[in-house]
């Protein structure tokens, strides 16, 4: 039996080689298709990683730890105690987690009012650790004037351009922040503008203020406490596993809820999904065209060799064995050219675009989506899952597009196929 499989395979292999022209046509379709697929998938992966990274840095990280009620009602009432902060930090110190974490940000986030002589605006006030926060969020890089918060700052505030113009604030101007404190009292805090940023996102530029964490804790009567502990990982790909690890390590600490960016940033999550879905349709169409091209060439070669299949059957090959020859031919063609296309796609993409593709020519101003600014430079990214998926795709196309021609060959009517047109 093994010998027969070898015989049929060697026959198929020689048939592929004999029909070099037809084979190379099929191979070309597959190579171009796969190369395009690899290129476009790597761009999508790279773009999504950018979106997610930008989004989670401005938001509450790939993963955040909060009090369970904070998610529904983001008030200072629902806090994390110093003991719980210790538990979180201990959980994060585990090797498998620490290896994935690139930045953490302890924060107190409250809604309040910012007022100046010119008026008052509703704002989100974030008490942040200047050092940790500047490694975490990219807000410090969006500086328009002045500077970002620094360690040792007390009454300094970092505000957006839109808020500055609404409240007619300049560097060094004073403003009063008002919010409810931990005891439920409305209290005010004086601050001075140390820096002004322009993120490009209207809601952020209009309504976000960073102040030193210690100032916020004192002001809001929440000494040593936080509302959110935010975590950024090396890559969004490791969110699922790291999330699980953190959850299991915090299982014994009551009153803590671990959230992933999928939950804290549903709009961003939705945007990535929609984009992935669009890609899926595009790739589906691309691959269907490739598959049709393959079915077509393999089928043509079958129709043209009907007599050969008649001979094989007369020699005693069963229908299954006869079909197998064609099936193996199809697999050899699609799988070898599929891998060639995949490797070509990866190497060309990495050769020419390893520094990223600049799409800024497409937009005249900054492009925002789901509340984040999109980086117009996309660095193509190849992930293991992308490559595994592509291998599965190639095999699937190979199997699907070889099956019909194989069926056709298996069903050849021997008597008919051996007839001579006199």
């Amino acid at each position: 039996m093994n010998g027969r499989v070898r015989l049929l395979t060697s026959l198929a292999w020689r048939n592929v080689r004999r029909q070099a022209r037809r084979s190379s046509l099929t191979a070309a379709a597959m190579i171009v298709g796969l190369a395009l697929l690899m290129f476009s998938r790597s761009l999508a992966e790279g773009a999504h990683e950018d979106w997610i990274d930008a989004g989670v840095r401005l938001g509450s990280g790939h993963i955040s730890v909060q009090s369970p009620e904070f998610r529904d009602r983001a008030t200072i009432e629902h806090r994390i105690s110093p003991r719980q902060i210790e538990q979180i930090q201990e959980a994060l110190s585990a090797d498998i987690i620490a290896a994935e974490v690139t930045a953490t940000a302890p924060r107190i986030t409250v809604r309040g009012l910012a007022s100046s002589a010119a008026g008052a605006r509703p704002v989100v006030i974030m008490g942040v650790d200047p050092e940790l926060e500047s490694a975490f969020s990219n807000l410090g890089d969006k500086l328009a004037e002045g500077r970002y918060l620094q360690p040792g700052d007390r009454l300094h505030a970092y505000i957006g351009t839109a808020l500055a113009s609404r409240l007619r604030l300049r560097l060094g101007s004073r403003l009063v922040l008002t919010a409810q404190d931990a005891d439920g009292e409305i209290t005010g805090q004086l601050a001075r503008v140390a820096g002004i940023f322009e993120s490009g996102i209207p809601t952020v530029d209009e309504g976000l203020i960073h102040i030193p964490l210690t100032t916020a804790q004192e002001w809001l009567a929440a000494e040593g406490e936080l509302t959110t502990f935010a975590i950024v990982l090396r890559s969004s790909k490791s969110v699922a596993s790291t999330f699980e690890s953190i959850v299991s390590r915090l299982a014994n600490s009551s009153g803590l809820s671990v959230l992933s960016w999928h939950e804290t940033m549903p709009e961003l999550d939705g945007a990535v999904r929609v984009d992935d879905f669009g890609d899926m349709i595009f790739h589906g169409i691309l691959l269907s065209i490739v598959a049709l091209a393959i079915v077509n060439t393999v089928l043509m070669s079958v129709l043209y060799r009907v007599r050969e299949f008649g001979v094989l059957r007369a020699l005693g090959l069963s229908q299954v064995q006869t079909g197998s020859v064609v099936f193996i031919e199809g697999l050899i063609l699609t799988i070898s050219s599929g891998f060639a296309g995949m490797i070509l796609g990866i190497s060309l993409t990495m050769l020419f675009f390893h520094d990223g593709l600049d799409f800024s020519f497409l937009f005249d101003s900054e492009l925002t989506m789901a509340g984040i600014v999109i980086d117009p430079i996309i660095i193509p990214t190849f992930t293991t899952s992308l490559i595994l998926n592509s291998v599965a795709f190639i095999t699937l196309i190979g199997v699907l597009s070889s099956f019909y021609p194989a069926l056709h060959a298996a069903r050849v009517d021997i008597a008919e196929s051996m007839k001579f047109e006199a």
Partner: protein, 235 residues
């Protein structure tokens, strides 16, 4: 049921009726015959008389509309495609009019194909092929592709492939139709020799009068029916 191992192939009241466009064509009509092991039979008849259709029935390439067919003592009438394939592999050799050979295989690989399918060991295959190629007069051509062989040489390789597995029956459907007179004679000589020396049973369809005279037994087919069936002395 017959249990006569001296029978190579046998039919009883075999019909093949084709239905095309509401027209039914009786290509083979009520044919009953017994061909013994070691016979050399020429199936003669004009074009369209049903020679090919009858050979296909004898070789299990198609099913009879009515009647029964035995190969040796095995009734193949109701065999499945799978069983027929196995039966062909083990008991029947075919030589067609032309394009018998697989173009991607060398002469030797074509000839040994049935042995490969049966899992015969390499040494044994080597021996059988080289012996046969010598006998058939194509020694030295083992490694040529069919496209590099003459029509007569190709048919010799096809005959080698048909007889190499010592089948119960070799069916040859106008194997000389595409050959010139000389090559036709030579191919027929070869088959007669193989029949005489190795006892291979041949059923050989032709409408060539000269070739008919060489038959040990001549069966005439007219409109799908046997019109005469005569043993004659081999010359």
């Amino acid at each position: 049921m017959t249990h006569n191992t001296d029978t190579s192939v046998k039919t009883e009241g075999v019909w093949k009726i084709f239905q095309t466009d509401g027209l039914s064509i009786e290509a083979v009509r009520d044919v009953s015959l017994v061909i013994g092991a070691g016979e050399f039979v020429v199936l003669a008849g004009p074009s369209g008389s049903g020679k090919t259709t009858l050979l296909n029935l004898l070789g299990g390439l198609s099913h009879p509309t009515k009647g029964r067919v035995w190969i040796a003592d095995t009734d193949i009438t109701d065999m499945s495609e799978r069983e027929l394939a196995r039966m062909r592999l083990e008991r029947i050799g075919f030589v067609f009019q032309a394009y018998n050979l697989l173009p991607v295989l060398s002469a030797k690989e074509n000839a040994e194909f049935p042995l490969l399918l049966r899992g015969v060991a390499e040494e044994e295959r080597e021996r059988l092929v080289s012996e046969l190629f010598e006998k058939i007069g194509i020694g030295g051509l083992e490694h040529r592709r069919p496209s590099k062989l003459s029509g007569g040489q190709q048919q010799r390789v096809a005959v080698a492939r048909a007889v190499i597995g010592k089948p119960a029956l070799v069916l040859a459907d106008e194997p000389t139709a595409n050959l010139d007179r000389e090559a036709s004679r030579a191919l027929l000589d070869l088959m007669v020799t193989l029949n005489r020396d190795l006892g291979v049973t041949f059923v050989f369809a032709t409408h060539d009068n000269e070739l008919m005279e060489r038959a040990g037994r001549l069966i005439h087919l007219v409109d799908g029916e046997i019109s005469s069936d005569n043993k004659q002395v081999l010359r």
